[in-house]
Symmetry: C2
Subunit: 322 residues, 2 copies
Amino acid sequence: MTDDVQLLGISNAIVDVLAHVEDSLIEQIGVVPGSMNLIDEQRAHEIYEMMGPATEMSGGSVANTIAGFANLGGRAGYIGRVSDDQLGEIFNHDMRSLGVDIRLQPAPNGAPTARSHIMITADGQRTMNTYLGACTELGVADITPEAFGKPKAVLIEGYVWDIAQGPELARKAMELAAKARSTVALSLSDSFCVERHRESFAAAIRDGAQIVVADEDEINVLMGTDNFDDTLEAIRDYENLFVMTRSDKGSVIVHRGEQHVQPATPVEQVIDTTGAGDAYCAGFLYGWVHDRSLAECARAGTLCATAVIQQVGARIEKGVLD
Amino acid sequence: MTDDVQLLGISNAIVDVLAHVEDSLIEQIGVVPGSMNLIDEQRAHEIYEMMGPATEMSGGSVANTIAGFANLGGRAGYIGRVSDDQLGEIFNHDMRSLGVDIRLQPAPNGAPTARSHIMITADGQRTMNTYLGACTELGVADITPEAFGKPKAVLIEGYVWDIAQGPELARKAMELAAKARSTVALSLSDSFCVERHRESFAAAIRDGAQIVVADEDEINVLMGTDNFDDTLEAIRDYENLFVMTRSDKGSVIVHRGEQHVQPATPVEQVIDTTGAGDAYCAGFLYGWVHDRSLAECARAGTLCATAVIQQVGARIEKGVLD
């Protein structure tokens, strides 16, 4: 290996705007409770107007994983587009302060930094309305050999396919990965995202994404099944490494006939499940870049997910694996 | 009374940037643990660089009180200067979403919206480094009769005296209050602030601030005593209403010879004491504008403070007094 990072993330750089809301607000806004919706700037302002006082913190699914990976002590890099504004400064600060190597400069023009309006109802469910802003302007031209480097692994999120040049820039990243002998991991993001891009994801998994990170719903949609047993049957013949989380049912790792089932760790009180999958992914890949067995990787992932569901906020703290 | 608000706040409009840090960072930055320091933009960037990942939320001492007062169901207005930037939008959104009537438009030019870098050490202590930015440009010209209106009470924070036109704009507000028959309350902010402006505060209390809100340290510094008993002796001859909080020793209200001691409510676990004084002030003034007895006001203040120390964050939630 070179001196480059162990894990490079390519994803949407988003600042979360979190507020507790009444169920009626979700209805009033007219979205499905628990869903992630992509909205334009106008609607972002409207929805923000309807929300109560909020807390802001850096977010984004794969960005959370990268932050967690760095916090565990891993060497991480990140490609995502923020604007040269205050939210962009917050996002980059939070990544850099963990030692993440930010590969793109904030964009001096274009749309403002992305934000996701996250409404938390009394049952703990989160409904997201995301204005992608600057993220939508991430382009093929940003994925240069210099920005890409020679990471041991690159983790790309499914949400990238939602942006205009997303499929093309993902393809470019996979080409650079092949040249740099980097392993490509694809995180499926959410089941609606898988529905939007099922064919493209299937192609990516066939053509170069050696690792597939998904929760049960996402992998079921990808495989076109309605239950996990059928999914296990469907992925039996794949060469890829499948890392699949099943919330309180734990996780299942499948690789060329080998299957490892990792039970969830019982916890006294679940505070906030946000980011559990992202944290699992951070722990798993931290084990993976250190050439640990799949069972050890699954245990590391579980430790991280267990830690994150017992705190408020999606990003894991230092020392979780110590 | 007119239809105007019950309570108008005039204070520094600040977005808090909160991060957990090691004790050594406070030392490295070279400030006194637990202190509030005023810094310039350059140093704000330096300190932010040294901090880990942070969470952003609207703050500011009297702004917290105004937000809390509105959340209790009170009609509140607010005069504070933010810039027309993302942090300014966040600050105003959070106030407006509680129904607070924002009296100033965001400034289209000048310094960016203020932020306070709040470093929380393992012992729960908070060390603040505040870049006042746009706040420093609040001017006498902003305190118009239209912006002031005819509130039942106006609450001005001591920190206002730290800004260039602060003493003058406070004087203007007190003149408008006299004309509008509004009661003036002065919050002493912090004991260092009292040291900086002791003579001015004494004059304000003599010349029109009928209500003085302070914690034990602040009132001791103002009265030039080193213990609370001597302070009680010193304020015996004042006409003003003194509202004094003493953390776990509860609070003491003194008004023209009348004294009411309100014990603190024991709680199982103190989560975060930030904003306890601001919340107390919100509850007390909520009672006061509704013409409750001083004992009832003190109980309302205590209920609010008790609620806020059992949560993370300085601003009280709805329904605390229900």
